[in-house]
């Protein structure tokens, strides 16, 4: 590892950028532990979700549908639809991390949660000269404080969760995280336009099976961002 000294700063930068999310991963994990046990899952099953799936929104979807007595097929299809956005994350990371060996790409994929993805892609775009190793180090850095917390807080939630009073409004930890990740990225007209289309279409299609409307909204929003960027570039060139 002759290039270790170059990797350390990237790793620790990622670690620092990941730290704030502990504040939201912990309540989110606690909440999943509580929701899972209240739905009737035992401790091993709740932990099975958080360790094998490691995708909060889809875990909540699955537990919610299981409480509503949906069929196994519907539970699976809907929860997987909620995770379709991760295929977009995968496509977006591919130009940066695609050259890594297969086992490393498997690890990247396993840990590809919203927070890790958003921080990483922003870092790669802000510092385009990084080597593959530095990008990997940054990614691992963001994961370090976050992903183990997901398991631990799920476990705590499942064991002591029912003692947490609803006044703590743990339910709103997830929306606040998503907004906090997204709002610093609203840095140009195309970004704002894409976000606006995403909200509008997602709300208009909220009646569709969960996950499907979001997918259409995201596609429309990406096209909007790209198109507005092209228009602005042409205007500047003219």
């Amino acid at each position: 590892m002759t290039d270790t000294p170059r990797l350390a700063p990237a790793y620790w930068r990622g670690f620092r950028h990941g730290l704030p999310f502990i504040l939201v991963i912990v309540p989110f994990g606690l909440l999943f532990g509580v929701a899972g046990t209240e739905a009737g899952l035992d401790l091993a099953e709740v932990m099975g979700f958080s360790i094998l799936v490691i995708a909060g929104a889809s875990q909540f979807t699955a537990v919610q549908l299981m409480s509503d007595h949906a069929s196994v097929i519907m539970v699976l299809l809907t929860s997987l639809a909620v995770n379709l956005r991760m295929a977009m994350y995968s496509a977006s990371l591919a130009p940066h991390l695609g050259a890594a060996p297969g086992w490393q790409k498997s690890l990247i994929s396993y840990f590809m949660v919203d927070q890790v993805y958003v921080m990483s892609i922003q870092d790669y775009e802000a510092r385009p000269k990084q080597s593959l190793g530095q990008k990997m180090a940054y990614y691992a850095g963001v994961c370090t404080p976050l992903c183990p917390q997901w398991y631990v807080s799920t476990w705590v939630g499942a064991v002591i969760g029912k003692a947490i009073p609803p006044e703590f409004a743990l339910d709103f930890a997830a929306p606040i995280t998503f907004l906090a990740m997204l709002s610093p990225a609203l840095r140009s007209i195309p970004h704002v336009a894409a976000a606006g289309v995403s909200v509008g279409v997602a709300l208009a299609l909220a009646w569709m099976p969960s996950g499907l409307g979001l997918l259409i909204a995201a596609g429309a929003a990406m096209a909007t961002g790209a198109q507005v960027e092209l228009w602005l570039n042409r205007k500047r060139a003219a």
Binding site: E45, L80, S109, M119, P175, L179, L182, H191, L203, M222
Partner: protein
């Protein structure tokens, strides 16, 4: 819960494997090849295309209030976005949002 143990574990394992392959999909397929300029232009907007649509229904129709619009949660969401835009800092935005949420819940009840 009216599922057998086997059905519950089937859900967990299939959801886990399916989610892994969604995450691995493009990363594993595309590998080292360069993407065309237009594709990169689209992908630049992935976070701002997905997250707002994911969060909008959760803000407008929170499950904690059985889908009723809740002023405290709306204000907290607004405060989070405002802090994020002004400070460009995720932690500041989270603290601003949680602060506003607890303040409003305490004031409004």
């Amino acid at each position: 819960m009216d599922y057998s143990k086997a059905e519950i574990w089937l859900i967990i394992v299939v959801l886990g494997i399916g989610t892994f392959f969604l995450r691995y999909s493009f990363l594993g397929l595309i590998g080292n090849r360069a993407l065309p300029e237009w594709a990169l232009r689209y992908l630049r907007y992935t976070p701002v295309a997905v997250l707002p649509g994911l969060v909008a229904p959760l803000v407008l129709w929170p499950s904690a209030t059985q889908g009723e619009i809740d002023p405290a949660r709306l204000i907290a969401a607004g405060a989070t976005v405002l802090m994020g835009i002004v400070t460009r800092n995720t932690l500041a935005a989270i603290l601003g949002g949680l602060g506003a949420l607890y303040l409003c819940l305490w004031l409004i009840g």
